[in-house]
């Protein structure tokens, strides 16, 4: 404990030092135990079960097959032969990257706007948060019917009044439609985090930069952006964790289609268990999804830690 206190100075360790008094460990652990047991039973036990299922063949509506052990067969099939899964991995990456990029750029633009004082800023900021808390299924239903519908949607009205050809967005551009729907929801979140970053920046640094002649783009590029880097990474990290799990929007708007064009990894896992009743394959795909998500999260975390250290050095 003492070694780690020295190497990682932070708020947690400072509250520990010098306060280890009477050994009342049982009572203390008692406070922590409910959470640990709860999380173990409801998230870790199901995951161990998932691992167990993933090495078996188990189809719910064919009980006569039993549950034979198949080893890594489910994994092997998913990785080497299952073209739908391979496509789903690619689709997930494309959709996630686009949603994060679009909402981050829009969020940054709006955060920069809101960082300047003007009459009514508080109201504008409050209203801007609203989309983030709208129910995702409601969001998808509204976009699908009112905006993207090929006959009566508002985008169709826009196209026809500009004398352009009709487009069935959800059929012709299913991925981009999902990106539009989810970006609308995630932009306010990015804006909030980035605005917090901007407002935490000391005005003196900017003022000093201005005196040195930095203004406009130069100020943004050399002062604002580097100071904001940590917040931008945080946006990317948190956004990615949640957007990788996008499900309701796809279920409502495109049902993974047309064909499998907008089928993402979570959606495919859902189909495997719900439509094909294939618990074994679904479990294997679920395990792969965890690995996939962990790799991305770990990579992003490492990036975050590295830039944070550089910022301090």
């Amino acid at each position: 404990m003492s070694a780690s206190t020295i190497s990682v100075p932070d708020a947690a360790s400072s509250s520990v030092t010098g306060r280890i008094r009477s050994p009342r460990i049982p009572a203390r652990l008692l406070l922590l135990l409910p959470a640990i047991i709860y999380l173990a039973v409801l998230t870790q036990a199901p995951f161990i079960l998932t691992l167990w299922y993933s090495v078996h063949k188990w189809i719910l509506d064919q009980p006569d097959l039993g549950r034979p052990w198949v080893g890594i067969e489910n994994f092997k099939y998913a990785i080497t032969q299952d073209t739908v899964f391979q496509q789903a991995v690619l689709t997930t990456l494309i959709i996630t990257v686009l949603i994060i990029a679009v909402s981050l750029l829009l969020g940054l633009g709006f955060a920069l706007l809101l960082n300047r004082k003007f009459f009514g800023r508080g109201v504008v900021r409050a209203l801007m948060i609203a989309p983030f808390f709208v129910m995702p299924t409601v969001n998808a239903v509204v976009w699908k019917n009112f905006f993207l519908d090929p006959i009566i949607g508002l985008f169709d009205w826009l196209l026809t009044s500009l004398h352009l050809a009709r487009v069935d967005f959800l059929t012709s551009y299913p991925k981009l439609s999902i990106v539009a729907i989810a970006s609308w929801q995630w932009t306010p979140f990015m804006m909030l985090i980035l605005l917090a970053g901007l407002q935490g920046m000391s005005e003196e640094v900017r003022e000093a930069a201005r005196i040195d002649g930095a203004a406009g783009w130069a100020e943004f590029r050399h002062i604002t952006l580097p100071l904001l880097a940590r917040y931008i990474e945080l946006c990317i990290l948190l956004g990615t964790i949640y957007v990788l799990n996008l499900f309701g929007e796809i279920r409502v708007a495109t049902q993974g289609g047309p064909g499998t064009e907008s089928t993402t990894v979570p959606y495919y896992v859902y189909q495997t268990i719900h439509d094909y009743n294939d618990v074994g394959s679904a479990a294997a795909l679920g395990v792969l999804a965890v690995v996939f998500a962990s790799l991305i999260a770990a990579g992003l975390l490492r990036l975050l830690v590295r830039t944070f250290r550089e910022g301090q050095a």
Partner: protein
Amino acid sequence: MAMVAGQRAGGAQMPPTRRRYNGAWIARRTLLWVLNLFFLFFFLFPLYWQTVTSFRPENELGTTPIQWFPTHFDLSHYYNVFNGPVSFAQNILNSVIVSTAATLLSLLIGTFSAYALARLPLPAKRTILVLVIVMVTFPGIALVAALFIFLRDAHLTNTYWALILPYCAFSLPFAIWVLTSFFRDIPPELSEQAEVDGCTPLQSLIRVILPLSMPALVTAGLLIFIGAWNEFLFAYTFIDQPSMQTVPVSIYYFGGLHNLPWGEISAAAEVVSLPIIALVLIFQRGIVQGLTAGSLKG
């Protein structure tokens, strides 16, 4: 750009607080306002359109030219929503029960462990906190099959517990994280004094820490509630009995119940979105802090 010109005209010698109200300043302000209004319009339009549609009489829906503003208010869609084949009121009640229970349960468990993590000497604290964060990254979809079979074998599918238990599990890490960082900021002298006066750690938590932590509890609770209120995957998978379904699932099924139910969809969307948006606006300061503090500290 006007902004650059304004900064230069302000001059380096002037203190930053004083401003010159010249043409460039006015142009800059106007540009800022126009850009803001444009953004705001873009982001709020879907909500506006949903509201207008919900009040529009059936025969005016989907007509061209498009009517941008409501002509008269018609409440029949709202009436239909609450008098359909499946009572929407029942779905709302289900959502309220499930979300409230999950929120209270995870605040209760979360408070105890956050207090232990923030205040009491425990081994491997950082490791526990890191593990808690890692839990957040766990994709729910990976557990759906196992949780479903677990709930089915425990005869819990189509009960409120089928949703309360997993919702609490998935919001607990967030609750622990936010509350731990808040408890840390409360001066330790306060609870130490209580313990000197003879309180046990539990008593000092209840009498000293909790009253001071109301803002954090309210914020974390609201965010957990909204998360549970909006959740779709588990609600859709673990419940198939219409009278037990929660709002996100009933909204999803709305399309099948009516013939092109624009008005009804909007009315239902209004009913379930407005309370949440109202809550967010009322508690917006706390929510902004909760979202950013929960994620930035650490």
